[in-house]
Symmetry: C2
Subunit: 244 residues, 2 copies
């Protein structure tokens, strides 16, 4: 990753106009209080992440955001035939490559779960073109993962050609905030999130599937892409998805 | 939850024989350094969670553990017809009820992702009967969720009878530790984790499916349960699962 990290927390600045130093000498007293770059994005701080409810004066807020899910296809199968250390290396690489692509486009790497990642665009770092940023991040992830595939394809006992990621993207209103009281979890929920996850399930390895709403907001990036109807689990009506 | 929380971190004590106060006056200086009860289990501390690699002198360790996945069936469908605040309340409740059951049996609520949770038993809090503890936690979750279903079934516009959780459990060696370098994530990976997730997918609402290995280790709890063969995604051979 060649991108320079921000000296101030972009989240606190954009959401509250409060300058929180993330790096350099000014950040030291903050670090003593546990305020440091977030694990979800190095350009926001742990206040954005952990003290969300106190700062926003609400447990959840409704925001306009773009949600991206990516899943490493072939992982379950591959991990049965690989030594544990190689599987760990594969996931390290996958998470790192996904993180780099998401952060380059100001997204929040909200979750990793086994072979999947979930990213949120437009909060806490605002981008008016967040759907386009998500599409660009998805393409960067596919490119980054092609490099990883090439690397694993080099080893004789790894089925390198089975590796590939499927990505799904949807955009609209989500509930963002803390869920659960005893185990607090900062995430986004709602139909938009569910739809993004389902679009990801429908994507073939190497494919990016986006909804009509993402297509409309990121048209310049999606010239010539035509819609195909998909039947998605949990949704009664067929859903039109575009390959991006 | 009626259970009393521990005054000392059970993880630090069991893994390193170091007493870390979690509650009461002795915990105050520790809290100033960000050492407090973990979000994953109130009886372990953030050292167990965040400083894993430094304490264990390795990024990952191979451990014997039991993995439990639970998924709230009908959530995607239900969340389309419910107001956002109700969906948030539903998830708050689901996470809280899962957390209570997992913690009562010394498990780690490692992940929540949308309508699913992942729990790890036997680390950092050791239990020689961790498979049995996982089965008991799963039953407690089903009971807790039946109460929740009753509550949501009371509202006329919620399809209360569609709610129910599917649970899958597997046990064996997993790689536990930090994955990813730029976005660090503390979790367990390996075939055992994948199998538990697949068993969960096969479970019907209200059902708990466990593998042969869990059955063998928790026999006293599973008298009279017979195996059924399931075809699970990513596994070439049919897998025998027992209803618990």
């Amino acid at each position: 990753m060649t991108q320079q990290y921000s000296a101030l927390c972009k989240g606190c600045w954009q959401q509250m106009h409060v300058p929180i130093p993330l790096r350099g000498g000014f950040s030291l007293p903050f670090r003593a209080f546990g305020i440091r770059p977030s694990n979800m994005n190095p350009n926001i701080c742990t206040i954005c992440e952990m003290m969300f409810a106190r700062m926003m004066k609400a447990r959840t807020v409704t925001i306009d955001a773009t949600i991206l899910f990516a899943d490493l296809r072939g992982y379950t199968k591959l991990s049965q035939s690989m030594p544990a250390a190689d599987v760990a290396g594969l996931l390290d690489d996958f998470y790192d490559r996904c993180a780099a692509a998401i952060w380059e486009h100001d997204g929040l790497l909200n979750k990793t779960i086994g072979d999947a990642v979930m990213a949120i665009f437009n909060f806490p770092i605002k981008r008016s073109d967040h759907s386009r940023q998500a599409v660009l991040a998805a393409r960067q992830m596919q490119k980054n993962i092609a490099d990883q595939r090439a690397r694993f394809g080099d080893t004789p006992d790894a089925a390198g050609d089975e590796l590939g990621i499927g990505i799904g993207i949807h955009t609209g209103e989500v509930s963002f905030g803390e869920f659960g009281h005893s185990h607090r979890d900062l995430t986004a929920i709602g139909t938009v999130v569910n739809m993004a996850a389902r679009a990801q399930s429908a994507a073939r390895p190497g494919e990016i599937l986006v909804t009509q709403e993402v297509h409309d907001r990121a048209q310049a990036e999606l010239q010539g892409s035509t819609a195909t109807d998909y039947t998605l689990k949990g949704f009664d009506q067929p859903v039109a998805l575009y390959a991006a």
